[in-house]
């Protein structure tokens, strides 16, 4: 499922136009992004929680050339799956995993 498929599904189920559904979906993820940017965690019961984890700088390596590359300190979002969703996911084990590759679009 992509964001646009989520928008279509919400439009159909929520009986609103796709344009309105798109605003809703964008508003939800923008609000979540904004919270994480402010360093705030997000907790969605039954789904999971997002936290921001700080990472110290370290010296990495370019895997192709072996050259050392400094990796600066950074903050990354971390998602912890909620108990209910964890069970839902595990119960789907008998089904094939679908939805394409994991790349960003």
């Amino acid at each position: 499922m992509t964001k646009s498929e989520l928008i279509d599904a919400i439009a159909a189920r929520g009986q609103l136009t796709k344009a309105r559904a798109e605003l809703v979906v964008n508003c939800v993820f923008d609000a979540m992004t904004e919270a994480l940017r402010a360093g705030e965690g997000i907790e969605i019961r039954g789904f999971g929680s997002f936290t921001v984890r700080p990472y110290k700088p370290y010296s990495g390596r370019n895997p192709r050339t072996g050259q050392p590359v400094p990796v600066p300190a950074k903050r990354l979002p971390f998602f912890k799956v909620g108990k209910e969703l964890k069970e839902i996911v595990n119960d789907s084990r008998h089904l094939a995993i679908t939805g394409g590759d994991d790349s960003d679009d």
């Binding site: 499922m1 189920r13 508003c27 992004t33 990354l76 995993i97 960003d104």
Partner: protein
């Protein structure tokens, strides 16, 4: 931030939805995502991240408290892979990341999606 805060954002920022409708729509969004993952289908939210499923084989583990060996059964797990855009948002204070701010500064009159009333 909790779901109530997200509902509040939908309610105040979008307009036209009651509080109840806003809450129902936010619930619907998360329920849809849960159902999708429950069908074994991944979710890709561009600009935010991907919710990916992985099947793990059975393996030998240890109870970290007692050191006792235990069998970890095979399972399917959910991982979140943050998008580059989200990672960047957490690491540079780019105010350009909110296009609304820059867009409104240079905005030309709306190209009339039902807003034609002001021009007689």
């Amino acid at each position: 931030m909790t779901k109530a805060d997200i509902v509040q954002a939908v309610y105040t920022q979008l307009g036209g939805f009651s509080k109840k409708e806003s809450a129902d729509l936010v619930d619907l969004a998360f329920d849809m995502m849960k159902d999708t993952l429950g069908r074994g289908e991944k979710i890709k939210i561009s600009g935010f991240g991907n919710f990916v499923l992985r099947d793990k084989r059975q393996r030998q583990g240890r109870n970290p408290q007692t050191g006792e060996p235990i069998v970890i059964t095979q399972r399917r797990v959910l991982n979140f892979k943050a998008s580059q855009i989200l990672k960047a948002a957490l690491n540079h204070r780019v105010d350009a990341a909110t296009p609304a701010a820059s867009a409104s500064a240079t905005s030309t009159p709306a190209r009339g999606f039902g807003g034609g009333g002001s021009r007689e």
